[in-house]
Symmetry: D2
Subunit: 152 residues, 4 copies
């Protein structure tokens, strides 16, 4: 977003990727399982927290987006688990986003344990922009402006 450099020059359209959005979550007891660690599906919920915070940077929220008639349902999701999060751990969710096409956006995530900076999981979700009738629609301009746009 910043892109503060002396002379981009005409051939260097040079969009500098925004820094990732940072969210904090603390692991709830309900999120653990009998292995004594976080149940794997819950990381996808934290990814949701992460992209909600990222989208808030547009100046309005995902809630507003839905109110305007645009939703971003998940069409693909994936996660790699390196180290387990545990009850009461403080975690940092680092989220970045990229506009893939006029109607698709991808978010990538890293979840880090605050205590020691260890990277616990990485993940990715792909989303379609849908209008009220469930048909693909263009990503709103403020979302495109916020995210790295590879669809241009």
């Amino acid at each position: 977003m910043s892109s503060v450099h002396p002379d981009p020059g005409p051939t260097n359209a040079g969009r500098v990727p925004a820094s990732p959005s940072i969210s904090r979550v603390r692991v709830r007891y309900s999120e653990t399982d009998q292995m004594g660690v976080v149940y794997h599906a819950n990381y996808f919920v934290w990814f949701e927290v992460g992209r909600t915070d990222l989208l808030r940077r547009t100046g309005s929220s995902y809630r507003d987006l839905e109110a305007e008639g645009v939703s971003l349902p998940v069409i693909q999701a994936q996660c790699e688990y390196r180290l387990p999060a545990r009850y009461d751990d403080e975690l940092e969710v680092r989220t970045s986003g990229t506009v893939l096409t006029h109607v698709r956006v991808e978010f990538t995530y890293e979840i880090v344990r605050v205590a020691d900076g260890a990277l616990l999981v990485t993940g990715r979700t792909m989303h379609a922009a849908l209008d009220r009738d469930g048909r693909p629609c263009r990503m709103p301009a403020r979302v495109r402006a916020l995210l790295d746009d590879t669809s241009a």
Copy 2:
């Protein structure tokens, strides 16, 4: 339930309470927590499974009810925990319902471990009938007919 007797007689209008609806669930790993037992909030989800199955006895489902514009949000919920359910346990949810007033209904629940018949929890939820605009509305006739009706 029982009420097997030769002649109830005219003074015994005697609405016989329906037998409870029986649902089966098997405990999922996701439903456990690091204590090695089911996380307490999940019993309320199984109560929901129980009353959904009970309402299906009306010949249509709670899904149909909502499609017709009547919802039954929970306005009070309570649970007593006697013995913990564990991963992979098969459980029986026994659900009964009572119409309290024209606009309120109560369900009661027992959850029993199938392996040995042990009673694990008992609970109760109270619900309001609301129309599409969120205003209290009369419980549909087929729901009143199904459940013990104390509102008459």
Copy 3:
């Protein structure tokens, strides 16, 4: 419990109830249901967040308590729903606790919508103190010292 009177006197040590612990949560998309509001069982998860934060006031955490061999499983839970929480709402969980007996403690909760101060739900959970073998045990001194103690 309150002890506002002119002269407590030497025999009335006059325990002043601690102010409730305040926790903040923001409603996640995963916590909503198709009624467009928060699914009722999720409030019990926020109650857990509230009592975890309250117990942290003892100077150590519930995680530490479990590490020392004492757990506080829920033996009764209840919630009254007044107004629904919605996606992305900021909520305040206000938690108080009382030691009921040497082996039982109760927490009470109020969940308030930050935007307008509306009281959404109230609730209560009762817990038993159990040792590693699952037998009732005395509540640790620091927990008794923190909470209103009616067991003396």
Copy 4:
């Protein structure tokens, strides 16, 4: 993969892949979100139901496996969403498994709507076999015998 031919011959040891394990789930209200469909993370829970049922074919359960000291934590998970599941839908989870190496196994999933046979999602999870100390260990023989074994 299919191996229906007259004479496999001595050089074609021809392991016939087992048919997928079939599990049935019905969508719970708690599993929906305010988009009116199932929240995307919940499909991973149904995948868990699927592989639990598949492993039960070994003659013992995943619960037994953990009791013997072997756990199979998820190290990678992924899902593609084609069509949304909705409240009260009956779904069929079709699960297959493959032993990848001595210490890794992969499960693949299809979730189909029973009413019309529509394929809603496909997914995949990879798991490591760990012993009680959290160290990689050999997959038990009965699991290897059950699943397609590509590690030989």
